[in-house]
Subunit: 322 residues, 2 copies
């Protein structure tokens, strides 16, 4: 194998509610170095420290000059000002994130919502390549969204659109977490946290299941744990994922009827559950979406899997600053 | 007053579930002749007859040559083929509508969803003029939607998108009417029919109200009747419209969070209720949408009122065939 020397690199950052992924990425989307840190529970200053530290580590490891940083953030951005407008799972609301990150790293920085970034990667190079109309859902701690409509990324008037996790799917439903003042939002029903919650209920309903025994032993029932046990065949864990899959599909009915997309791409950590999650969603769409719109859409896992956000952030940096 | 001779005209048709509006429209959107027919209960052939008859009447009344027909249809179109893909309130599903109307009238015909047409009129000339991102809701018999995203009309992969009335707002809610196989859709909760349904409930709850007396006298409680009585000050009728206004607002929370629009324009017959309907919707958005997105949006009645569909169909004809 001949080692190809990358001519220019960027640093891609995928900043989620649970963890930060960083990578040195070349123009062919090759990843030359990667690093990860937990983000849960950090304050604003500590979070910026971790970001700067990881960028420095990446710059040092890069095989060629780093020309920019791209960062996808689990939050709503005002793209006109680079300020994070809302971030239910991160301490960044109101923070001049783009400017601060540029100051701390000494590099040019492009910032977007993390799911917009993931959509960009999948649209340019992945599962939605060539589509004029496509939707991305990132099922991580929360639920993020990205949209391509009529051949362009949908951003909205101030760049804060595509918050698909904050569609109302239940009138007078439970209140959102974080600073979102909404109720009955899609994210409550279809996200890593929703899988954890459904898993906890399933564990109570079936104390003899593997999931039930984990609960009895005092372990926290997270989406990741439910996913592992479902993968191992535990029926209670599978039922929990199926319930969330159906609700993921109910929101997709809206997406199909509104965006008439060719592709709905599902990424984020929870997509590790694969068809256990996606098949119930597909069934829901087959049953309840407008038949003529349903017939033109495919529901597929992200091509880049859990790397979509990281590679999308890198793509953003190349396209906007490269 | 000097009569201006219109150089060219088109015929605009607004085909809803209850009635057909037709008008001769010039390039300055002046309406030179208008006509109306009921559509409820007609079969496919009879409906096409009524359309051809009204077009002929308009052609005869036109002050100048008619160059094309534009038609907005209360249904989902496949714009690639001109076939009506789905039309919950009209007998047109699967009908090659554009071709048949051209055959029957001998004129070139452009067809789109009625709410897309209304959005086009409001965007080019009305309440959403100059907006890069805007949403239109037409609250008529049903609930139609039109979207401008990133400076273009959102149509979707096969031209059937923007079916905002068919967003899921209640998981496992009541089934849709007509051939939509969905459940718990926005239209069920926010439409002329929803106002009628809420009015009937309010009439039962308050038999001493004007609305209650109408119900007791055996009269059908329609959205229009509720609107009239609310306008006259009947508390039961006002409560019914307020409930529907709140639910209209719940769906707008989704629209604000997803499209980050500068303007949500509300048209269709029910907008005659004015702020009785729109104020509760605005309050709901103020309480529950992402604050930063809520702050950039205005919720306004259609500039063209109940004419938005007709004028949008005419605009479509001028833009596509003029």
């Amino acid at each position: 194998m001949v080692a190809v020397v990358a001519s220019r690199c960027v640093i891609g950052l995928d900043l989620g509610g649970t963890k930060l992924l960083a990578g040195v990425v070349d123009e062919q989307l090759g990843v030359h170095h990667r690093a990860q840190r937990p983000t849960r529970g950090l304050g604003t200053g500590a979070l910026l420290d971790v970001l700067a530290e990881l960028v420095a580590e990446c710059v040092e490891s890069s095989p060629s000059p780093v020309v920019a940083v791209g960062c996808g953030v689990a939050g709503s951005l005002d793209r006109r000002s680079g300020v994070v407008a809302a971030a239910p799972h991160l301490p960044l609301a109101g923070v001049r994130f783009e400017a601060l990150l540029a100051e701390r790293t000494g590099l040019r920085v492009a910032v977007d919502n993390d799911a917009n970034a993931a959509m960009l990667a999948e649209w340019r190079h992945g599962a939605a390549r060539g589509c004029g109309d496509a939707v991305m859902l990132t099922v991580g701690t929360g639920l993020g969204g990205g949209i391509v409509a009529g051949g362009q990324l949908l951003r909205g008037a101030s760049g804060g659109g595509a918050e698909l996790g904050h569609m109302v799917v239940e009138l007078d439903g439970p209140p959102c977490q974080g600073e979102c003042p909404g109720r009955g939002h899609y994210e409550w029903y279809a996200s890593g946290r929703a899988i954890g919650r459904a898993g906890e209920q399933a564990a109570r309903d079936r104390p003899d299941s593997a999931l039930g025994r984990q609960l009895a032993s005092g372990r926290e029932i997270t989406g990741a744990l439910v996913g592992e046990l479902a993968h191992d065949g535990d029926e209670a864990a599978r039922a929990a994922i199926e319930l969330v899959g159906r609700r993921l599909g109910a929101g997709m009915v809206t997406l199909v009827n509104v965006f008439n997309p060719e592709r709905i791409v599902v990424g984020g950590g929870a997509v590790a559950a694969g068809d256990l999650l996606l098949e119930p969603a597909r069934r829901e769409v087959a049953l309840h979406a407008f038949p003529v719109l349903r017939d033109v859409v495919e529901i597929v896992p992200a091509h880049f899997g859990a790397d979509a956000g990281l590679l999308g952030a890198a793509t953003l940096a190349f396209e906007e600053l490269g």
